[in-house]
Symmetry: C2
Subunit: 246 residues, 2 copies
């Protein structure tokens, strides 16, 4: 069962060794398969678990009173889901399977036990959350201050990057298993406009598209129009132990 676990998100900050990472996955209950459209957890439910995504895509979305939906993040294998709501009495986001998925549930108490006993695990989690926070800051900037074209470009580059890091894509294109309406909800656009932007990108030979398969034909042009920052994560964990406290 441990043959192919997606460890990559737990290596980011150079804080956990192999044993630590095994411990992380050992927190989880037995993996469960769920079909597309399954809801892992609805917003307003008390957050008693977090989730490790082992395969497939999951969307985290927030519902507004008027019925509008904002998709906060498309989660890929290896991601730890549902942690933002740990600070709340009622979950803030709904977790929905965008494809068939395999997940492992983790009771928050199990997470807490490891968190309390291992400062390195605690620090790693702390930094992971900060990293997600920076990602949200960048997304805020994209939605608040860039055009529809730039937002779509940023999304495609982001997914491409993350799929490569996860070892799922190889630069020969990838499946984007979401509807244009979901892309709209992610980018703050309507499905109709997402469709027009895709058309524009195909005509401009920036991308090729066949159903939900996307190939990035001109990544450097996409990058320059996306206004997307390349964030380099710190691999220096000396702050934890107090080294170099000069």
């Amino acid at each position: 069962m441990l043959e192919r676990l997606p460890f990559h998100r737990f290596k980011e900050f150079n804080l956990l060794d192999d044993a630590d990472r095994q411990a992380v996955f050992a927190l989880g209950e037995a993996p469960v398969d769920l079909p597309r459209h399954a809801v892992l957890r609805r917003e307003s439910e008390p957050p008693r678990h977090i989730y490790i995504l082992l395969s497939g895509w999951v969307g985290s979305s927030v519902l507004l009173p008027g019925g509008e939906r904002q998709i906060v993040k498309f989660h890929l294998p290896g991601d730890l889901l549902g942690t933002p709501s740990m600070c709340l009495a009622q979950a803030a986001d709904t977790l929905t399977a965008l494809t068939a998925v395999t997940i492992s549930r983790v009771p928050v108490a199990a997470f807490g036990a490891l968190f309390a006993s291992s400062p390195r695990f605690a620090a790693s989690m702390f930094l992971s959350v900060q990293r997600e926070r920076v990602a949200l800051m960048d997304r805020l900037a994209a939605i608040g201050r860039t055009s529809a074209l730039a937002r779509v470009a940023a999304l495609l580059l982001d997914i491409d990057d993350r799929l490569r890091v996860a070892g799922i894509a190889d630069g020969e294109g990838f499946e984007l298993p979401v509807t244009q309406e979901q892309i709209g909800d992610y980018l703050g656009l309507t499905a109709v406009h997402v469709n027009r932007v895709f058309r524009q990108m195909v005509e401009g030979e920036l991308i090729a598209r066949d159903r939900q398969r996307i190939v990035l034909l001109d990544a450097s042009r996409l990058r320059s129009m996306s206004a997307r920052q390349q964030r380099v994560m710190s691999r220096d964990s000396s702050w934890l132990s107090g080294e170099h406290a000069a």
Copy 2:
């Protein structure tokens, strides 16, 4: 010097006692006064410190390649600033004094030492960051999916709430010491449009305004048009110790 420290942000999760909170402020160097427009830390600088805001307002902003600016957060007294960039080699955001401010710098190593030695402090910080993450999710939804009017309403309600929690405002109105251009950069609007929305709100008797002083005349109507969620923080810290692990 400890008479009037803004402790409220360190009481949110019921994890720290008085001594713990003293320890937090003891991490900081001697308080420093800075004038309006002073830059605490510029983005792309290596993040060697975080900052406790003791008085005044600070803006955290991200600059896009095209020169556009997104203001991520208006920080109020008691906030811990600059922590998102702890996960990065180069800071993601610029911290700028919006008013004259008093801050205390904290070396990341000092923060790390307390983090490593006190699981309760670590957990409190973890939850604080998650809380900020939820706030960003809500902001994303506001900018991506609501009108200019709703965004301004949400901003005013948010500031009012936070000023009250900080013990700075009392419901009789408050100073909003930022230019309309900065409000635009915060909400993903132009200064011109922010101005028109304010006019609309004054005409609709939702608010009163004199220079930068704002009075919320009809908070309940503002709330209903803002699409803003009231988030209730968890005060149950049992997950940390592993109680109720049922």
